[in-house]
């Protein structure tokens, strides 16, 4: 019996189903924790306390979430056009170069709020540029965007290492990184925001990038649902044949969509590069581009869902760190397992419980 086409109310599709998936992911994680001889209840308490228990924990959680919002938006915009951008990781990495160049050029002369627009533009332009060739290959030659963007992740990583080791490195230093930006090239922390809620940010790198990320959520929402371009992107994603019928230019739309997607991924670099470490380092993206895929899937490609999913993954990252610190048996790798389970249930198996819910809904929901 087919239940795929039965319509369900939104609160079930967007509320209950993700929640159920999450609960199951955590239950199975609990079993794993129990197997290695720790108490699942203690583990979950430690995890939540580490992530949300104090101002510093919240600061770290939101810092990670900021990364995931940017990459999640990046994946989501491409996904609306039916394009699976696996290259957010590399686009963010190269975006870091754009942001860092802006800071290096301006930090001696101007305050941070003057540098910021240049850094945002630099990050976005470099990220977009890194998406351009895969986009062009997809649009013109039909080379699959999944393959090309994955390959560009490797090319980007190699290029960045080369630049940091040979070009951008501070002469006489061992570390492959740029010089530390002055205050005019940094994004200030949001300690006042945490203080408003009575917390203390401490050393957590929670910074202005978070507000930029929230602003970009609004921009993406307007783009997708309130502009003609967004309409064309959604048409292309939902039905390529209908897009041809409607006279929507395939090549142009694919390239523009990927430029926007790459630009959003590039902007992720603002957070670690200008906000946290105040310098460009190797490997600063640290997998946030790939987490963005899970965040976008779980958030159903909607900015609001992406914010919620990004915070959830922020909790897992920060809480996971705290957990592995307090429970040595639960290593960093165990945290990756738990994150993997969340991705599996929330992303890949998103419709696992749908048939059962449909049956329950048909029996009792109509009363």
């Amino acid at each position: 019996m087919s239940t795929a086409s039965v319509p369900l109310p939104n609160w079930i599709t967007y509320g209950l189903m993700p929640f159920l998936n999450l609960v199951v992911a955590f239950l199975i994680s609990g079993v794993v924790v129990w197997f290695i001889g720790e108490s699942p209840l203690d583990a979950v308490t430690l995890l939540l306390q580490g992530a949300l228990g104090n101002g510093e924990g919240i600061g770290f959680t939101l810092y990670y979430a900021t990364n995931f919002i940017f990459t999640g938006l990046s994946v989501a915009v491409a996904y609306h056009a039916g394009l699976f951008n696996i290259g957010s990781e590399g686009q963010a990495y190269v975006g870091g170069l754009g942001a860092a160049l802006a800071s290096l050029a301006l930090d001696h002369y101007v305050p941070w709020y003057v540098t910021m627009p240049f850094a945002v533009a630099g990050a976005a332009i470099f990220g977009a540029a890194w998406a351009l060739i895969p986009a062009w290959l997809q649009a013109k030659r039909g080379s699959h965007i999944v393959i090309t963007t994955i390959m560009f992740n490797f090319i980007g990583a190699a290029m960045m290492v080369y630049l940091l080791v040979h070009v951008l490195i501070v002469p006489g230093k061992m570390a492959p990184e740029t010089r530390v930006f002055l205050e005019g090239g940094q994004l200030p922390k949001l300690d006042w925001l945490i203080a408003m809620f009575g917390g203390k940010l401490g050393p957590a790198p929670f910074n202005v990038s978070f507000l930029i990320a929230l602003f970009m959520c609004v921009v993406v929402w307007v783009l997708i649902w309130r502009t003609k371009l967004g309409y064309e992107i959604r048409t292309l994603g939902a039905s390529p044949t209908a897009a041809i019928y409607a006279g929507i230019p395939y090549v142009k739309t694919v390239i523009i969509t990927m430029l926007i997607s790459g630009g959003l991924a590039g902007m992720m670099a603002l957070n670690p590069v200008l906000g946290a470490s105040a310098r460009l380092q190797v490997e600063f993206v640290g997998g946030a581009g790939f987490v963005g895929i899970a965040v976008s899937l779980m958030g159903r490609s909607h900015p609001l869902g992406i914010v919620l999913a990004a915070i959830l993954f922020g909790v897992l990252y920060q809480g996971g760190d705290a957990l592995s610190f307090d429970m040595p048996k639960i290593t960093r790798d165990m945290i990756v397992v738990i994150q993997g389970l969340v991705i599996l249930f929330a992303g890949a198996l998103e419709y696992l419980f749908r048939p059962a819910i449909v049956r329950v809904w048909q029996r009792f929901g109509k009363a």
Binding site: T227, K228, Y231, E232, S239, T241, A242, Y245, G247
Partner: protein
């Protein structure tokens, strides 16, 4: 098969009831089909015919009611149980593996063991027997994709018989056939009946019902409204029963007043994605104030011709002119700006984005227009106001422009497309299969709209595989066969003549 008392009916459905959410698809249906008869089930789209047959074939479970096969209560909870009970189904869209041979398709799922050898040789002799018994000749080693559709359908019937089917359900079997192929199918069905098989024929074509069935049941809005002996009813009565009111089967229209040439097609050749020539050196004109119909069996190049004219496919050579201006190779956005309206053959894949709200679809292709928002912004309120006006004017139901398009019935989906294209008042309207999968009430409405366009001095190019539709709407008929226009006829030309031309026999 166990021997059965001849007196018991082959199928008895008793009090079948089925709901999908708020939709009551089958309301307390009772149906009896005598053994060795051909029973037709007609009804509009969404009347519940397919649901009922899906219950009989085990795709769905009825909420209430029971099924008796040959007088014995039978539980059919999946298609395997249906096959065991001797029920076979020939689907509208064939379920064949295209690059397998006939024989391989027939034994698919009943290969009989891990090694093929024995099963294949048994199947080969069984096929031979079926062939001689029922006149179902097909080369068992032919590859499916190389066979014409009529023969592919025969393979579907063979598959069912090979599995021991005593009851055959055919779902809209003639949709893809030429009139001659359809006649041949009816002959086969006649032979099967005479050999004691029971046949249930689902269709919306009244002509077929009259031609072949012994008894006919009419469904409307989930209810079984009448069952008649075919000899004791008329086409008019059945149509009225289906729709629930009197319908005009032929659209009334005055003589055409053709004037200036709007569309010119000159030596047009179009190739498909594999490089096969689908349209071969075709030339014709369409004038303002006339409907030109293109008749032909599906797959003879009409689709590619439409796609080339509407900017979806680039022609290989030749020229297309609108109002004397060359437009060859223009994309559909530019053609729309020049006054081309296009009701595409396949509304699900082209005319509509099914996941969109109705209001979003009512601007598809025209969304760049300034009336739907200034600059880069899309003004949803303007789209919705526009959609509401069209819903009102075209009686689209349910009248809710925020509803997802997939949740409208086929007829109403088509009305969304028709409303969008006609309301832009195009000088040239290109129409493909305007009433495919559309119920009779909506067919009448769409036909009247197309004639109104003609009478308003627009040029209309119509492609349809429904010969009745072509004959009743067109002022001139072009017949296409194997990519060429093989002749031009007037609409009063007999169906026989046109049918032969469509089969490429007489030009």
């Amino acid at each position: 098969m166990s021997p059965t008392p001849t007196a018991a009916p082959a199928i008895e459905l008793i009090g079948i009831d089925k709901k999908f959410g708020a939709v009551h698809a089958n309301k307390n249906i009772n149906l009896t089909v005598a053994k060795g008869s051909i029973h037709g089930i007609i009804g509009e789209n969404g009347a519940g015919k397919s649901t009922l047959m899906s219950i009989l074939y085990g795709f769905y479970h009825a909420d209430a009611g029971s099924i008796r096969i040959n007088g014995q209560a039978t539980v059919i909870d999946d298609s395997q149980a249906a096959i065991t009970a001797g029920i076979g189904m020939v689907h509208q869209h064939f379920m064949l593996v295209e690059n397998f041979s006939v024989l391989e398709n027939v034994i698919l799922g009943v290969e009989g063991g891990a090694l093929l050898g024995r099963g294949v040789s048994e199947a080969r002799s069984a096929l031979k027997r079926l062939e001689t018994d029922y006149g179902l000749e097909v080369d068992p080693d032919a590859i499916i994709e190389e066979l014409p559709v009529g023969l592919q359908q025969r393979v579907e019937i063979l598959k069912a018989l090979y599995r021991g089917a005593e009851i055959l359900i055919l779902d809209e079997p003639t949709g893809v056939l030429t009139p001659a192929e359809a006649d041949h199918l009816f002959k086969i069905l006649g032979v099967l009946r005479d050999q004691g098989k029971t046949i249930v024929l689902i269709t919306h074509k009244l002509r077929e019902i009259m031609a072949i069935t012994d008894t006919v049941s009419v469904m409307r809005r989930g209810e079984m409204v009448a069952t008649r002996r075919t000899t004791e009813t008329t086409v008019e009565e059945l149509a009225e029963l289906m729709v629930g009111r009197r319908v005009l089967l032929r659209v009334e229209k005055g003589p055409a007043a053709p004037s200036d040439i709007v569309l010119s097609v000159r030596n047009l050749t179009v190739k498909d994605g594999r490089g096969v020539t689908m349209v071969d050196n075709v030339s014709f004109d369409v004038r303002a104030g006339e409907v030109v119909g293109i008749a032909g069996v599906a797959g003879n190049g009409q689709s590619e011709l439409l796609e080339a004219i509407t900017g979806i496919r680039k022609p290989a050579s030749g020229e297309i002119l609108i109002h004397g201006k060359p437009v060859t190779g223009f994309d559909s956005a530019r053609l729309r700006a020049l006054g081309l309206g296009h009701i595409p053959e396949d509304r699900h894949h082209m005319g509509l984005v099914l996941g969109f709200e109705e209001s979003e679809n009512s601007v598809l292709g025209y969304h760049r227009d300034s009336r739907y928002g200034r600059g880069p912004l899309l003004d949803l309120d303007a789209c919705r106001e526009d959609a509401k006006a069209k819903i009102e004017k075209y009686d689209i139901r349910p009248p809710n422009c925020r509803l997802k398009t997939a949740n409208f019935s086929g007829g109403n989906q088509q009305k969304i497309v028709v409303a969008r294209e006609i309301e832009r008042d195009p000088a040239l309207l290109v129409v493909g299969q305007p009433t495919r999968g559309v119920d009779i009430g909506a067919i009448e409405f769409i036909h009247r709209r197309l004639i109104a366009m003609r009478d308003a001095g627009k040029a209309v190019l119509l492609v349809s595989v429904e010969l009745d539709e072509i004959r009743s709407l067109s002022d001139r008929i072009l017949v296409m066969f194997a990519g060429r226009v093989v002749g031009e006829k007037t609409p009063d030309t007999g169906e026989q003549t046109l049918g032969l031309m469509m089969a490429g026999i007489a030009a």
